[in-house]
């Protein structure tokens, strides 16, 4: 069982390191906004579009993103990094699909200015 312990320990460390690497490198496939439905809840998605409105609260930025297929609300938590958003900006969002008060929205984990 000593050999099994060594194998398990090495696998645990290599597997965890590999997953850290993959979590930093892998991105979800770009999809259009109309393809976001309840089946995507709690899954990560990537969308591209223009900002149509921005609401700035104490802890959150709430803004709408529009592409040629539709529009969706995006929320981003402030604090960890500064987010500078303006109406009309072209951006790329990666985030988790959430449901809030019966509406689907994206909780952004990364916002890129294009």
């Amino acid at each position: 069982m000593q050999a099994l312990l060594k194998v398990a320990l090495v696998s645990a460390i290599i597997g965890t390191a590999l997953l850290i690497f993959l979590s930093a490198k892998l991105e979800p496939r770009l999809i259009s906004i109309d393809r976001i439905d309840v089946r995507k809840i709690d899954n990560f998605v990537k969308i591209m579009g223009s900002v149509t409105s921005v609401k700035d609260t104490q802890s959150l930025l709430i803004f709408d993103v529009k592409d040629e297929s539709g529009i969706i609300k995006v929320i981003a938590y402030k604090g960890k990094e500064e987010i500078d958003l303006n109406k009309g900006m072209q951006i790329e969002i990666i985030g988790k699909v959430k449901e809030y008060k019966g509406e689907l929205e994206i909780e952004a984990s990364s916002i890129k200015n294009l």
């Binding site: 099994l4 398990a8 645990a12 597997g15 965890t16 850290i20 979590s23």
Partner: protein, 398 residues
């Protein structure tokens, strides 16, 4: 009314199926149900669907001790890390062990009713304070449990952190679906099953008798569950096993039998109270409560009363269902080839991982199993592996 009764009965059947499948957590089923709710809502109202989910979730909390006690038992070499239920199984008392968890689960149904008004009036005042210090409370709880590991504190800490890093990496993987399934199945399921398989564990013939427990010991265990149950309800990431250890520390040392009563009580109490917590602070703490919260637009006190009635009725019927299935398992498990049974369950979990989480899910399952194996072989209690959820939650609150 008839629709509600049918939903309750169907929930009982579904709870038996999900409870008896090893490695399948009720959170996963609730989430899958919610994501397919558009289909179900063609045939039933949201309220009927919610009754089904609550009935299923409560039944599941009674039944899920059957696979966890009858499967994955290690041999004597790992005796220090053997769970109380497995110890009794290896003595031919698996059925009695299930009965002990049933005592806890059954009385928890009434504790839910007693504790609901306390939750309704106390939680709105306590929650803002708890939320403010959440990260520190969770760090203190994790540190306390690691310090309790007398012989291998450094391994407990290392495994807590390693499973925590794995949790952070897995939950941040943008391309994986249902990351919790392979993560938790690997840490807590496949690793134990692998040890059972490799060590060729023999399960002795099981006696269909009850295990005597002093009423005082049961009362003490139920008292501990009153402290430990709310802990899990407020604190995200803490599991019933950790809450049971903290609860038994506060209530005074419990015997192995008392610990099983406590585990049963916490399992059912946490599920029942999660619906009350959803009503009071709008925070779902179980997958079933998440689904209920999403299906219900406005949550009134009348809804809560209906849900508590469903909890009570489903729980009372689940007692008899659990006894029946426990007897079936106790009589048949020793006749089966335990090695092949464990191998079959591992194959089932692997087979479920591919459609649920994809190929990356297999990598998560393999890594999580490796960490679980290290914990089992180093005789460290596996509850420290809940670091996989606690570390991401702590980082979120910091």
């Amino acid at each position: 009314m008839l629709q509600i009764l049918i939903a309750l009965l169907l929930g009982l059947v579904a709870g038996c199926v999900t409870g008896l499948i090893p490695g399948v957590h009720i959170n996963l089923i609730a989430l899958l149900l919610f994501t397919s709710s558009a289909f179900f809502l063609q045939y039933a109202t949201p309220l009927v669907l919610i009754v089904f989910i609550i009935s299923m979730a409560i039944t599941h909390t009674f039944l899920d001790f059957i696979p966890s006690i009858f499967l994955g038992a290690p041999d004597d070499d790992t005796a220090l890390s053997v769970l109380p239920g497995h110890k009794l199984l290896l003595k031919g008392q698996g059925y009695g062990a299930i009965k002990l968890t049933l005592i806890g689960s059954f009385f928890a149904l009434f504790l839910i009713l007693v504790m609901s008004p306390i939750f309704i009036f106390g939680l709105p005042k306590a929650y803002p304070f708890i939320k403010q210090y959440m990260a520190f409370i969770l760090i203190a709880a994790s540190g306390f449990l690691i310090l309790k590991e007398k012989k291998s504190r450094s391994w407990a800490l290392a495994l807590f952190l390693l499973s925590g890093i794995l949790g952070v990496a897995t939950l941040n993987l943008a391309v994986i679906r249902q990351p919790l399934f392979p993560l938790l199945s690997g840490l807590f399921g496949v690793s134990l099953l692998t040890v059972s398989f490799l060590r060729n564990v023999k399960i002795p013939a099981q006696k269909i008798t009850r295990i005597k427990i002093k009423p005082k010991e049961s009362v003490k265990a139920l008292g501990a569950s009153v402290i430990a149950g709310p802990l899990v309800s407020f604190l995200p990431g803490l599991g019933p096993a950790q809450a049971a250890v903290i609860g038994s520390e506060i209530a005074g040392k419990l015997s192995r039998k008392g610990f099983l009563v406590l585990l049963g009580a916490i399992n059912t109490l946490v599920m029942g109270l999660s619906f009350v917590a959803l009503y009071v602070i709008q925070k779902p703490r179980t997958g079933a409560a998440v689904a209920v919260g999403k299906l219900l637009e406005t949550f009134t006190i009348n809804h809560l009363l209906l849900f508590l009635a469903v909890v009570l009725i489903a729980g009372c019927i689940a007692v008899f269902l659990t006894l029946g299935f426990a007897k079936l398992f106790a009589l048949n498990i020793p006749r089966l080839n335990y090695r092949y049974l464990c191998l079959g369950v591992i194959a089932l979990i692997v087979a479920l991982t591919i459609p649920l989480s994809g190929l990356l899910g297999l990598l998560v399952l393999f890594t999580a199993t490796s960490i679980g194996l290290v914990a089992t072989l180093k005789r460290v209690r596996r509850m420290h592996l809940m670091g996989c959820l606690l570390v991401p939650v702590i980082l979120w609150f910091l």
